[in-house]
Symmetry: C2
Subunit: 907 residues, 2 copies
């Protein structure tokens, strides 16, 4: 028979890291640590093969085959730990844990303190000099054994675990509230009660023989491989049923065996700053849970750290030495060993480690090591430092970046302490990152007015619309009561790099009284509130914010990324300011300029409304003529900012009703301004109403029914480009037709564009190169991309709308069920945030492929929200796009994600 038991401990191990399939993840990891000389508590792993045999042949046939090897494994532990299993004086206690190659919920997890019984508990009490600890360990063992090995459950109709109920009874009897208030005698009684429960519920006595305890636990782990929850999980995740789990049996070690014992956690580098400085905390004579519980103040492990800590807390050096000495001072030898271990671990794993250690009777044991979590700043610094130290190579440095974490480095944040003290009134969606504080206003014009007067404001609305954009820009932050991560407020705020909390459903705004109610709070116009775009918190009063500092490490990672990435990174920008911001963040072009926002500014909206109200082409042309010089100016500014980079301008996209007022008062105003009866305005507004505006008269459907709009916009774009050329600016316009569903729609718009261009070039006697392409945002456009590409010189996937139509979800309404859908497992992510590669991605891939069948060099990009989402960016790389385009603040994220995609591709 093949080897069934793999031993580890004392700097050696039978197994290797690579044997994950045989030893499970945990077993392989323990073997690895042991092999490189890390002092892990000794133990052994029973292989996954044995699990398979157990499931197939049953316990009776399997256990006899491995009996000898398991016994040998226990002896191996006894030897290294210098304790004997079942020994009355100093018993060896072990843990039994399952560990499959892939971590899997639903399986039996852990039994601790195995080996205790009425006799050994006394040895433990004596040895630890802590009778209460020994009995508490014992009662915990019985409870765990009952729960996970014997499968004790509440009886039918009862909802309480009988063990927990017994504890509650004990506390009630004594009149105390906490488990910790039960003393040794209470625990002894509980142990008796627990044994009774075991008999009553499991129909068998609690086994006192440690060997019986061990074999039962091993059997329970193997048996749990086939429990329904684990089976279901495997079925859902495509994990083979014959993979099996391993069992790990390992010596228990305790940090609460007296003043020569301790327990702690440590990091090989500073997880907050990234500084290359070993640091951590520990407690003498304590268990791991004491560190977490926070009853006692943990001490720093080394002198440097300890002194810093004392400084921060205004503690004198004397007091520190007296009350909070470091491990380095208390147990210098052990600390030295620990320091060596941490160095070894970082060298071995090539990354910052977060390790748990226990010192038992002056002997150091490492319980666990794992890659340490870190802040965005620390992530950058560690990657660059390790690269410079030669610990990792360039590709690894890039892969070390979690792209989304870069976001937090680019926006203001709350002062840590201030945030901790803040009074959170409610939470919405963290729609656009950063922190903001200001006086609340409820109308966009107020935001503008107040801001002009030098006030800091937060704009709070039920939801925002294009009319509010100027007010949003004037505010420090935006809050809405309705709408999801891709609502108007969220999208626009992200574009502006401005903090936004969206869809805070508990907020009720009374526009009339200019007040909002949030549960019991009442916030009037002008009162201070604060928003966290990172957590979604809506906070009462002013909270101090801190501006981010961008370190040199940031720039170095960006440069490194640019060397590797194959994807271009453009930006979505509607103004010269946004364009400039994006260039600063490294964008090399604009992938989407929306022209509709421009229609709302100042006087323009008047001309737009005049156009809408016009009865015929002539009337529309008159109004459009007024818009032309303004649009031209917009584009000139953007071309200037993007000198030498391509600028993709999307023709008018939203339905016309977005430009007309829906409130009586404003309709009256509009009527007065245009000199028409208010009835006419009302009738027009009514006639523009749509039941499903998302699927209505918009996009190229406007351009194809009112070609004069396309003519005006084309002229504005190309005149601007020609003007720029005259000023020595290299304008590269790309005209993008939105919402194409058929080739002909594009062809007709292209004809209009080309005609205007020819006319203009003749007028001016000069030309400028331009391209005509289209958004692919309607499923049919992707399905017929081979036809569409006959006309299109470039494609840009509008994955926001494509997601809406492929799923049949309205972004504005899906909030009602999306959260529930994530909860009940229908969706893993909000598909408006993370591109649905399975469904929508198929259309993206198909569209790209079919498009290039017709036009092999077709330039393909993406300009939906997904263009700045790392996993989606990687998908774009995979399908062979030329570029992604995202809001300015996500450009760095896209650059890194693109580089990671390229690196992953090479490997």
């Amino acid at each position: 028979m093949a080897k069934a038991v793999y031993k580890f401990g004392a700097g050696e191990a039978d197994g290797r890291t690579s044997q994950k399939a045989l030893l499970g993840g945990k077993g392989a990891n323990l073997a690895e640590m042991s092999t490189i000389g890390i002092p892990v508590p000794a133990g052994f792993t029973i292989t996954t093969d044995i699990c398979t045999q157990y499931v197939e042949e049953g316990e009776e046939k399997t256990f006899p085959k491995i009996k000898e090897e398991v016994e040998e494994g226990v002896h191996h532990i006894e030897e290294i730990m210098d304790k004997d299993f079942g020994d009355e004086e100093d018993p060896l206690l072990v843990s039994v844990r399952s560990g499959a190659a892939i971590s899997m919920p639903g399986m039996m997890d852990t039994v601790l303190n195995l080996g205790l019984n009425d006799t050994t508990v006394k040895g433990l009490a004596k040895k630890s000099n802590n009778e209460r600890f020994a009995w508490d360990s014992y009662r915990r063992f019985i409870q765990m054994f009952g729960d996970v090995v014997l499968g004790i459950e509440p009886k039918e109709g009862d909802h309480h675990d009988p063990f927990e109920e017994a504890i509650q009874e004990a506390k009630d009897e004594k009149g105390v509230e906490n488990d910790t208030e039960l003393d040794t005698e209470d625990l002894k009684k509980l142990v008796d009660r627990f044994k009774e429960i075991t008999q009553e519920y499991a129909g068998q006595a609690f086994p006192t023989d440690p060997w019986e305890q061990l074999w039962d636990s091993i059997g329970a782990v193997f048996g749990s491989w086939d429990n329904p929850r684990a089976e279901k999980y495997r079925a859902m995740n495509g994990i083979p049923d014959d993979m099996g789990t391993a069992v790990n049996v390992q010596a228990m070690v305790y940090g609460n065996m007296g003043d020569n014992s301790a327990t702690g956690v440590a990091f090989t580098r500073d997880a907050a700053t990234g500084e290359n400085r070993f640091n951590g905390e520990f407690l003498v004579n304590a268990q791991g849970e004491d560190v977490v519980a926070g009853v006692r103040t943990p001490q720093e492990i080394n002198i440097v750290g300890s002194k810093r800590w004392a400084d921060r807390n205004d503690i004198t050096e004397e007091e520190r030495k007296e009350n909070y000495p470091s491990l380095e001072e208390l147990m210098p030898e052990v600390y030295k060993k620990l320091d060596k271990v941490q160095q070894k671990l970082e060298e071995h794993y090539h990354d910052m480690q977060d390790l748990e250690f226990t010192i038992q009777d002056g002997r150091l044991w490492i319980l666990q090591t794992r890659t340490g979590k870190r802040t965005g700043a620390a992530m950058l610094k560690m990657a660059i430092d390790m690269l410079d130290e030669g610990m990792i190579d360039k590709k690894t440095a890039i892969m070390r970046i979690t792209p989304n974490k870069l976001d937090e480095l680019l926006h203001p944040v709350f002062d840590k302490q201030a945030e901790a003290d803040a009074e959170v009134m409610t939470k919405g969606l963290p729609a656009s990152p950063g922190a903001a504080t200001g006086k609340v206003v409820f109308f966009a014009d107020d935001a503008e007015e107040w801001a002009e007067k030098g006030e800091e404001v937060i704009l709070a609305r039920v939801e925002t619309s294009p009319e509010d954009v100027a007010g949003m820009n004037a505010a420090n932050g935006i809050m809405t009561a309705r709408g999801g991560m891709t609502s108007h407020a969220a999208v626009v705020a992200r574009g502006m790099g401005k903090c936004c909390v969206a869809g805070a459903g508990e907020v009720e705004i009374d526009y009339h009284k200019r007040v909002m109610k949030i549960n019991d709070y009442e916030i009037n116009e002008g009162e201070w509130i604060s928003l966290s775009g990172n957590t979604g918190a809506v906070i009462k009063d002013k909270v101090k914010t801190v501006d981010p500092e961008i370190s040199g490490d940031f720039e170095r990672i960006m440069e490194l990324s640019d060397k590797f990435r194959k994807l271009g990174v453009r930006t979505n920008a509607d103004t010269p300011e946004d364009a400039q911001k994006a260039i600063d963040f490294g964008a090399t072009g604009i992938g989407l300029t929306r022209t509709e926002h421009m229609f709302f500014e100042g006087e323009r909206i008047k001309a737009v409304r005049e156009m809408i109200l016009a009865d015929d082409e002539e009337g529309r042309r008159k109004a459009l003529d007024k818009l032309l010089p303004m649009q031209r100016e917009d584009f000139e500014g953007i071309f200037k900012a993007m000198d030498g980079y391509p600028v993709t301008v999307r023709l008018l996209d939203p339905p016309l009703h977005e430009f007309v007022p829906h409130e009586e008062k404003n309709q009256k105003e509009m009527a007065d301004e245009l000199g028409v009866p208010v009835e006419e305005v009302k009738a027009k507004v009514e006639s523009l109403k749509e039941i499903n505006p998302m699927l209505g008269h918009r996009g190229c459907r406007l351009g194809n029914t009112y070609p004069e709009i396309t003519e005006m916009q084309t002229r504005a774009i190309l005149e601007a480009a020609l003007n720029c050329k005259e000023d020595g600016i290299d304008a590269i316009p790309e005209i993008m037709v939105p919402l194409i569903g058929t080739k002909t729609e594009l062809k007709l718009q292209k004809d209009v564009i080309n005609e205007v261009a020819e006319e203009l070039f003749e007028e001016r006697g000069k030309k400028v190169d331009y391209k005509v392409g289209t958004m692919i945002e309607i499923p049919r456009a992707a399905l017929t991309a081979d036809e569409v590409a006959e006309e299109a010189e470039f494609f840009s996937f509008g994955t926001n709308d494509l997601t809406q139509m492929t799923f049949g979800y309205s972004r504005d309404d899906a909030g009602k069920f999306l959260d529930i859908y994530k909860e009940i497992g229908v969706l893993e992510h909000d598909p408006f945030q993370v591109l649905d590669q399975t469904g929508v991605g198929q259309l993206v891939e198909m569209g790209t492929k079919k498009g290039r069948q017709t036009r092999p060099k077709l330039k393909v990009g993406i300009c939906g929200e997904h263009g700045g989402e790392p996993s989606s960016v990687k998908f774009c790389h995979k399908v062979g796009m030329n570029y992604v385009s995202c809001s300015p603040f996500r450009v760095p994220i896209a650059r890194v994600a693109a580089a990671q995609a390229a690196v992953e591709d090479e490997e």
Copy 2:
């Protein structure tokens, strides 16, 4: 060189029918007729190859090569027609026509009377004994030659054709209104003026030499191949540029050469009834246009027809013989020849022919023959008669049916005469066929009330909603001012087989005053109006309607179809009555029972609203418990009607806001009924509002957020099935989950359904077989059909919604641009009527294939509007569906279309 000229005439021809590419459609057809001995005026065809040479090499190189052959062709005509080209006494005149293999607008079309000049016109005058005719022919020739050969156009800034202007001047001078009032002298002057115009506009004299006229015309036809309109048409329709057109030169014949001449049209069978009876009309000494103009009363060609005509018009036999003798009586020999010709034609073409003939000087000429148009009844009768006569086989008989025409046989129609006299106020869309007349009401409840009192009513609404269904059912017909062919009114009316005119945009309804304005008409509640669902006409007053009679031919065609078709045909039916109707029409199952209509009836809506208003699951369950017995009853009725056939029931689909009242008054009523404050109702209605309800909280999103609804419906379906079984009825329920976008959505609903089923079967101690499947109506469902099929036991393509989402068109709003889109060539058909095979069809095909990859025997059907549209049904056959499902009245259409698809497939 290959042969350039193919002659025809006198029972012979150089060409064959199969040489369409070389001779063009017209040339091949003329050759064919000539070959079988039909007396067509002699002529010749210049091949398409010559056209290609002409385009490539130019006139100078091409014409010399064909000169001899063309001259020979002319001589061939001269010989047969016994006239000489350019002869002063009896000149041969010819027509020159283009004729490509595929008919193509934009090309030069026709020049008539070629060969006339100042000399030959006199010969024609003498020979015809009609000077005015000769000069009129001459001036027409010059005008046509100027227009089409010389390309004379209005000068810049002028909109009038100079020839037409000259005619107007001549009439003004004379003070007359009609062209016919110009006499010979006037025409002579006009000829002079036309020649001047030619000189002035074309810069050349009108060519008097017939040969020059001929060569110029041939050149003009060939040259027009490359004119921009023709080129654009070819580009748009994918017709190769090097295909070329042929030129047909053919002798002119005239029916106005005296009393021995005549002209007429004839049908080999009766186009109205299908009766096998040669019939037609003619006029002595007349031109074709005289027959059309209707100034003189045409006479019947044979005695039988003539007598029938006299009977109908109360004309005595004496008077008939005197004034309206038949051709059979007037020219018995010619008639005999004509009769032989018609027999030959029908035998040759195996179908009813519509032919044009001219008798010149006692000699019969056939100008054209084509397959004759016919009524639905005639179509059926002819197919069956010809099958019985052995003229065609079964497959051909099936192919002879235009499925959509069957519709007119199943609905009431207006009395012909009454319809002709009717006063049409406006036209809307012919949304559901048939004719209806009744007193107009504007509210659904009124329709019900009035109908109960025995009134005939028409329901007129701006648009209808599910609340109106009962009222629609009570009305004779439905008219809406808004909405397209797939609006609620249209879909529901078609389902009911009830006449509907939708989207009559000129109708303004004032609900308050209970009146509608249609242009200048004002129709008050209670006034009679009539609707034609075949033409879309909205008619003032009552118009007499006639019920259709279904002949035995109908049944025979249906039986024949059933023998050939592979597709099953089911029906969409929500009531036992509809189900029965569909069975009568030959449906073998229900493909779609919508359950939401049931929710509106009577007391039910109260319980539905109670459910909606409930705050928690418990409240909803209470209300659902009330609905359960009513739903169960619905299903029992349907199962009974469908005994032995499968019934697919779709779970609740529409968003909940469709069930709550939106008008203040009704909200108050609802509040009173449910005993809650009206504010609560308002708040709920407000909270249910959606910006894009089509993409909102509906379909399985309801079932997955409120599983108790699914539980109730499942229980109702299965309890009904069990009850039916006890009564000996074979209920076969198929439960269909709507609006699936992900596999998990279906899985979760299926779990709920299966749990209820298990529970119920245990309660009752009995089981019933049922299937669980899903609609495929969201693009993502089609894209991931392989995954969805893991859970689905059947698929039903909901192509209405699938079209909405694939195109991004809202059915309710697309009216604003769909018509324009058809006009400017973006769309060929309304995609909601005719399945878009290119785009939506790809998803249907993909969904079917992928679904069957996972589950090879997956049952696949369609239940959108397209399930009853012939070309879409054929597509469904092609992709291998198991069945189509359509409204009861379209079942026969689907049966024939399915048979045709199978026949086409075999061939």
